[in-house]
């Protein structure tokens, strides 16, 4: 026990500090990017249906720029899951187009999205992000199993390269595991997420689709993932952050897009907006009280 405090005498920050045992970076420094923002991913009027065949995305348009984090704020079930899947090739686009640096990706497979340099931290790590009965090694190359680095030819996997690579991820991203040869099923949730983040960030991606990247993590893990996201942004990646945690979105994003019933109803600057305005947009989609749309 480190100490007890009365609930009304403490605040989030203190509590978090006690739990982690040191200062937590909850307010983050955002370095300004020089020069005109360079659009990387262009999404134009995209429509898609959900698993039941109902229209979940009703014409979504936005640009994702280099060196920025675009946060998607919204109440769960307004099309966020479908948006992430459409942007990673996992769900077909019904109408509209997606392009990366002028490279047309509409109608392409997940493989093409990966090869184009789009990394993806999926919302459900047990289902999508990891093969639970694969070892760390095997999971570390998921998505890049055909990369020349790991498979010099289609008849040969370079086992040593895979081990070295996995060990690097484990080291750099602090995955706690007895060895890289154990099944990821046996890792804690936080370490599983670290492995996913490590894998996706080690690809040197141009775009990162991060869906609920900190869900289910302890505070140390959360902090770590957030730092990494910012670091990727600073290194030039374009990050789309989809999160149910409004505070997280506000804290990390350079711009905030609000999604409501399958549409982007507003894009806001976190400096000039507040929880109240975003909350209203998220709940009603109404622009009545919101300021002008920011592009």
């Amino acid at each position: 026990m480190i100490g007890t405090v009365r609930a009304d005498e403490t605040n989030e920050r203190e509590l978090a500090e006690m739990m982690v045992g040191r200062d937590v970076v909850f307010t983050v420094r955002r370095t300004e990017v020089k020069g005109a923002p360079e659009p990387v991913l262009k999404v134009v009027d995209v429509q898609a249906v959900d698993d039941r065949g109902l229209l979940a995305l009703k014409g979504v348009s936005f640009e994702l720029r280099k060196n920025e984090i675009l946060g998607i704020a919204g109440v769960q079930g307004n099309g966020q899951a479908e948006l992430a899947e459409v942007l990673t090739g996992l769900r077909p686009v019904k109408k509209g187009s997606i392009s990366l640096d002028g490279l047309e990706l509409t109608g392409k497979t997940a493989r093409d999205f990966i090869d184009a340099g789009i990394a993806h931290i999926p919302a459900d790590r047990h289902l999508r992000g990891l093969v639970m009965d694969f070892t760390l090694r095997e999971n570390a190359i998921l998505g890049r199993q055909r990369a020349h680095e790991f498979a010099p030819s289609c008849f040969w996997q370079d086992q040593r390269a895979i081990t070295r690579y996995t060990e690097r991820i484990v080291r750099e991203f602090g995955v706690k595991t007895p060895s890289v040869h154990v099944l990821v099923r046996n890792l804690s949730g936080g370490n599983q997420q670290r492995l996913i983040v490590g894998r996706e960030f080690s690809k040197g991606p141009r775009v990162i689709i991060a869906a609920q990247p900190t869900r289910g993590l302890d505070i140390g893990g959360m902090e770590y993932v957030r730092e990494q996201l910012l670091a990727m942004r600073d290194h030039g990646a374009a990050v789309l952050l989809i999160s149910m945690d409004l505070d997280e979105v506000m804290m990390l994003s350079d711009r905030i897009a609000v999604i409501y019933e399958g549409r982007i109803v507003a894009i806001k600057d976190p400096e000039t907006t507040d929880r109240r305005e975003l909350g209203e947009l998220m709940l009603s989609g109404s622009r009545a009280q919101a300021g002008g749309e920011m592009r």
Binding site: P122, F134, L142, G143, Q145, Q157, V182, L183, N186
Partner: protein
């Protein structure tokens, strides 16, 4: 961390082998009880089982002959199983492969060496085609492959029945049996353990066990196949086209079963005989399960099953008990091996 490390140790190869060995022991123990309860001599049955399976060159030959096709059909089952599919139709794929091998072997004139190779290739492709159909139906139309592979098995058996029947085009009128003409000597797989029926087919089967192991565990394609089997959503996320993998998995499964049929025709019977298989395709399911879906394990699983079959023959011949006790043992082995937590529960009981 220590606790989880211990748990992880549990899923090592040694542990897997331990569970398998315990399952086999348990099955033999319960069979002993059944034999005793049925009023037969337990020791006489087991001695004859051993004698028939390994007691002498002929017995060993008998075991190896029976194991040969089971290695390949076990591989067929486990290959599809690794992709999350149940190939119950190895029997039909085996028949299709066998009939094609017999036709190519009997009616094509090719030099030694090449002829056998062409026979095997044609049989493999034919089997692959028979596996491709349910694979396609599964991938494109969502047809449960368990049912479709099984139904296609019956279709294959009926179709080959027709081909070699007196009204069929491949019937050899010289014999009073439903069979094709004898294959050319250039198409025969040499026997390697005379006077037994063991042929080069055994070497081919073992070779393919290693090929399948290499494919599954040492190539990117095998990696992709296994990820589809363990988690389709994650595989999709990893940019793997699941439909293609499903079709491929069943096609390769068909290819392996087709080779099993070719081995029987080219190495054992030297012709296609209507309904020649005593259920090697079904045995492959058992073999794949006993091997716990490991290709190298399939060699040993098939050996166990071949030994049980051969030993069962000796038990029958000696009059110690009905030879079908071997089938009971086989059923029990599978039953214990497939319940992963059973053995663990038993061990816990013992410790209590």
């Amino acid at each position: 961390m220590k606790r989880s490390a211990l748990l992880l140790k549990g899923s090592s190869l040694a542990h897997e082998l331990g569970i398998t060995a315990l399952s086999i022991l348990l099955a033999f123990g319960i069979s002993a009880f059944i034999i005793w309860a049925a009023g037969f001599s337990v020791s006489a049955v087991f001695i004859n089982l051993w004698k028939g399976a390994f007691g002498g060159k002929l017995a060993l030959g008998s075991t190896l002959t029976k194991s040969t096709p089971i290695i390949l059909t076990s591989l067929s089952f486990l290959f599809a199983f690794r992709a999350g599919l149940f190939n119950i139709g190895a029997e039909g794929q085996l028949y299709i492969g066998a009939i094609v091998a017999a036709v190519v072997g009997a009616y094509l004139n090719l030099p030694v060496g090449l002829h056998v190779f062409v026979c095997l290739l044609a049989a493999g492709l034919a089997g692959a085609f028979w596996g491709w159909i349910p694979g396609y139906l599964r991938a494109k139309r969502g047809v449960n492959e368990f049912v479709s592979t099984m139904m296609l098995s019956y279709v294959a058996i009926g179709f080959t029945d027709y081909l070699v029947a007196p009204r069929g085009p491949l019937h050899d009128a010289k014999y009073w049996a439903n069979q094709t003409a004898r294959i050319a000597s250039t198409a025969a797989l040499p026997r390697i353990m005379r006077p037994t029926q063991v042929s080069v087919a055994l070497i081919i089967a073992v070779f393919f066990a290693f090929v399948v192991w290499y494919y599954l565990f040492r190539t990117p394609a095998g990696y992709e196949l296994r990820s589809v089997g363990l988690s389709p959503p994650a595989a999709e996320y990893g940019g793997i086209r699941i439909e293609r993998k499903l079709i491929l998995a069943l096609s390769i499964a068909g290819l392996l079963a087709g080779l099993a049929g070719a081995g029987e025709v080219l190495g054992t019977h030297f012709r296609f005989i209507g309904r020649f298989s005593p259920g090697y395709g079904w045995d492959g399911i058992a073999g794949g399960l006993i091997a716990r879906a490991h290709p190298i394990g399939a060699i040993f699983a098939a050996l166990l099953m071949g030994a049980l079959r051969a030993g069962g023959m000796q038990v029958q011949r000696s009059g110690a008990a009905p030879g079908d006790i071997a089938a009971v043992i086989q059923g029990l082995v599978i039953f214990f091996i497939i319940a992963p937590t059973l053995i663990r529960v038993l061990i816990r009981w013992r410790k209590r």
